[in-house]
């Protein structure tokens, strides 16, 4: 008789818990990731993919809370351009900072790095001021 009481109590307990919503993750099992994106123009929105699931769409930088502790793969999409994914280790109770650079390199298909230079006459030229124009950049050596 005494041996079966705990068993019945257990069954009763499970019956009551069944059908309830999942308990929130305990705070000591999660951390946060702070994402900073370099090179996004004002108005660009970013889509964050964490371990192949879309975590959300944001403007500028963002803070992901309640991320389960462990190693995670993180990607950011800006418009159609994807930056190479990064691996993040999320630690208990800590915020891990991660930075993505939008500029994937000065090659066809990528955004050109903004520059501001002076020509030999002393005039200032910046790429951001050439809106609406095509720009031809020639790099040449001493001939």
């Amino acid at each position: 008789m005494k041996k079966t009481i705990p068993f019945f109590v257990l069954l009763l307990f499970m019956a009551i818990r069944c059908g309830k919503t999942p308990l929130p993750l305990p705070p000591d099992q999660t951390g946060a990731i702070r994402i900073t994106v370099e090179g996004a123009a004002p108005g660009d929105s970013i889509r964050v993919i964490l371990d192949d699931q879309v975590a959300g769409t944001y403007s500028g930088f963002t803070l992901l809370n309640q991320v389960i502790v462990g190693f995670h793969k993180l990607s950011v999409f800006i418009g159609n351009a994807a930056t190479p994914p990064q691996f993040v280790e999320v630690r208990r109770g800590e915020t891990t900072p991660v930075t993505f650079k939008f500029f994937a390199g000065p090659y066809v298909g990528n955004k050109a790095l903004l520059f501001s230079v002076k020509d030999v006459k002393g005039d200032s030229i910046s790429l951001s001021k050439q809106k609406g124009k095509v720009v031809l950049l020639i790099f040449f050596e001493h001939t």
């Binding site: 090659y107 066809v108 298909g109 050109a112 095509v134 950049l137 020639i138 790099f139």
Partner: protein
């Protein structure tokens, strides 16, 4: 470089196309004389600190030997790039014209 610049400049107006010639190995004074002697009208930049050259990954260290030609469309995306080639003026002209029409 001068012939490329000349060919393209005579075909496309100043309002639609900005040409920047960046020199990587010489001095500012030399560059000014070079431009004057050849009647080059585009902006000449002496990349003193090598910042532009580094940002655009030009040079032996990156496997991209000059002369390097990069065409950037009005939205700021790089559409054409060629390194270590001298005879691509016509191709570049075609690309520029296409971009100005709003093509890709």
């Amino acid at each position: 470089m001068p012939s490329v610049q000349w060919l393209i400049r005579t075909q496309v107006s100043n309002d639609s196309l900005k040409i920047l010639a960046v020199n990587v190995t010489s001095s500012s004074v030399w560059l000014q004389n070079y431009a004057n002697q050849r009647g080059i009208t585009c902006s000449m930049v002496y990349d003193n600190q090598g910042v532009l050259t580094k940002d655009y990954e030009v040079g032996a260290a990156y496997g991209n030997t000059p002369p390097t030609f990069i065409i950037i469309d009005p939205q700021g995306i790089i559409r054409y790039r060629i390194d270590n080639q001298f005879n691509k003026a016509q191709e570049m002209l075609n690309t520029i014209r296409l971009l100005l029409k709003g093509g890709t």
